[in-house]
């Protein structure tokens, strides 16, 4: 990736790129897999910020995003999939890590004032630390019109707790009764998590508050 393009990306991210250039760059994002992957990482920051601050896309920018989406076949496909899809790929599903959606996330991000005020170092560090390229690349590389949403609260979920020996016993015993696909998820998480013990339940975690 050349420096000029990288600079444009940074400017776009910092809300310092002219609207016209911004749109051009968004179009290029829809075609450039490497660029998409890079922006996918940035998008995660957006998801984190959205989660933490409840920010929303403003109307004019939403219009611009829609125009870009509809003008680009790849993005339109992803957008269509989102509109007809099931409910877990929702708003700004767009925000995601894969194909053309990255451009949407970019445009969405730059609209957020809180983001511009955030320390640059935090913004640059978080995405590479929390979003593995492997989670980004496969969908784009496959050419699939994927559109999925990055974890809503990566900061909360960043700590993967693998249980003490006692809980390990429970997990192994339980795995026998899991369906094949969920069992694979469970055991994979068990294989990869960090060591730790069960955490004390947060006292402010009210009953009924799912995640």
């Amino acid at each position: 990736m050349n420096e000029e393009l990288d600079s444009q990306l940074s400017a776009m991210f910092d809300d310092e790129l002219a609207p016209g250039e911004c749109e051009l760059l968004a179009r290029r994002l829809s075609r450039d897999e490497q660029l998409k992957a890079r922006w996918g990482r940035y998008a995660v920051v957006g998801a984190a910020i959205r989660s933490e601050r409840g920010v929303r896309l403003n109307a004019p920018l939403a219009g611009l995003v829609s125009a870009v989406i509809l003008a680009e076949p790849a993005l339109a496909a992803a957008h269509g999939a989102r509109r007809t899809g099931v409910r877990w790929w929702q708003p700004l599903a767009a925000a995601a890590v894969a194909a053309g959606v990255a451009a949407v996330s970019v445009l969405w991000l730059r609209a957020q004032a809180p983001l511009a005020a955030a320390p640059l170092s935090a913004r640059l560090t978080a995405p590479t630390a929390t979003v593995p390229a492997a989670a980004v690349v496969p969908a784009a590389a496959a050419g699939a019109p994927d559109s999925y949403v990055v974890p809503r609260t990566p900061a909360v979920r960043a700590t993967v707790v693998v249980p003490s020996t006692e809980l390990a016993n429970y997990v192994v015993a339980h795995s026998v009764f899991s369906s094949p696909v969920t069992r694979r998820n469970l055991l994979s998480a068990f294989m990869t998590g960090e060591s730790g013990t069960a955490a004390e339940e947060p006292r402010d975690d009210a009953q009924g508050n799912v995640q």
């Binding site: 590479t128 993967v160 429970y170 997990v171 009764f177 369906s179 969920t182 055991l187 013990t197 069960a198």
Partner: protein, 341 residues
């Protein structure tokens, strides 16, 4: 971060090595299969085929590579799951024996399951399952040069997670899996980087790579108590919609001589295990504090009821295991520190 970057680079390299070989290629694709049938075919493929694959597992901002080897030979299932990065943990199943190598804890857990338990058909999707999930085929797409059916399994309430599955048209193997939370956000993803379906996998493939010199071995060598005598006392007073009790057993866990009641609840896709064990004498007078933990996207919750420690574990949201654990009741209140016959 370095760990994640290393994994991703590795992933790209491995993606290039994608290969599906063997008899599976000769299969006729089922073009008009319903989503539920795709799930059944997938479960069949995962549990009955021989395969050797490498995949990335992404969760909570981390990605790691794992290798899975699965074989069914003469009716015996062998499986090895190993972390290729970091922890070096391995899980090996040979028939009824489950062995967990935990190098970071310098521990090996060995659990012997009853021989009549089967992984193949549990839990099973049925009409009731359809009441709590919306199953759809939303797309057909190419993934790693393979034709796949994208099947979504959307929960209709907040008691369970959803899935998005890329199922290979020819082999019904899930080449990519996304687990979504109750809001629809992807919280866990598995993507195969390489996968080989082989007619023959040698025994040597199921040997651990980790050296166990100096490790502590924990086994459940004592015979489990009789089922009826040990497990009839506990039941859930209420369950989340769609969940039903599917299994009960009494067992001892590795490293322990105390029997544990094991109740399993399922909605046909997700399952929750509840373990009930008597508090040890030294624990009875201690204040009990509910605890929760996560293993990837799975949840665990532990509390104390009537002098018994209740622990619920399952691939469901935290509130679901908490709800189920708190609903456990003994039909006749047991005395503290003793088990009801």
């Amino acid at each position: 971060m370095l760990r994640a970057m290393s994994s991703s680079e590795r992933f790209v390299a491995l993606t290039l090595a994608w290969a599906v070989a063997g008899a599976a290629l000769a299969e006729e694709p089922a073009r008009q299969t319903a989503p539920a049938q795709w799930l059944e075919r997938m479960n069949q493929a995962l549990t009955t085929r021989n395969y050797d694959g490498t995949f990335s597992h992404w969760h909570g901002g981390r990605v790691e590579m794992l290798r899975i080897i699965h074989r069914v030979q003469d009716g015996t299932v062998s499986e090895r799951l190993a972390s290729l990065d970091g922890s070096g943990r391995e899980f090996i199943r040979t028939g009824a024996s489950l062995t967990c190598y935990l190098p970071d804890q310098r521990t090996v857990l060995v659990e012997q399951r009853p021989p009549d338990e089967s992984l193949v058909s549990f839990p099973a999707l049925n009409d009731q399952t359809a009441s709590f999930y919306d199953l759809r085929e939303v797309n057909r797409t190419r993934l790693n040069r393979r034709d796949t059916h994208v099947i979504t399994v959307s929960p209709k309430d907040e008691y369970r997670y959803g899935y998005r599955l890329w199922i290979d048209d020819s082999t019904a193997m899930p080449l990519k899996t996304q687990l979504c939370d109750t809001r629809g956000h992807v919280i866990e993803q598995i993507v195969f980087a390489s996968l080989t379906l082989s007619a023959h996998i040698p025994d040597s493939a199921f040997k651990p790579e980790v050296s166990t010199v100096g490790f502590k071995w924990l086994r459940n060598e004592s015979a489990p108590p009789a089922l009826a005598a040990a497990t009839q006392a506990w039941n859930a007073m209420r369950l989340p919609p769609g969940f039903r009790i599917a299994a009960r057993s009494a067992q001892t866990l590795p490293g322990s001589t105390d029997p544990v009641d094991h109740l399993v609840f399922t909605d046909g896709l997700a399952s929750v295990s509840v373990f009930v064990e008597s508090q040890r004498r030294e624990q009875v007078d201690q204040p009990s504090m509910p605890e929760s933990a996560t293993v990837g996207s799975s949840s665990a919750f532990s509390t104390v009821i009537d002098g018994h420690k209740i622990t619920a574990v399952g691939e469901v949201p935290p509130d679901t295991v908490r709800f189920i654990a708190n609903q456990l009741k003994a039909q006749e209140p047991p005395s503290v520190g003793s088990r009801r016959p």
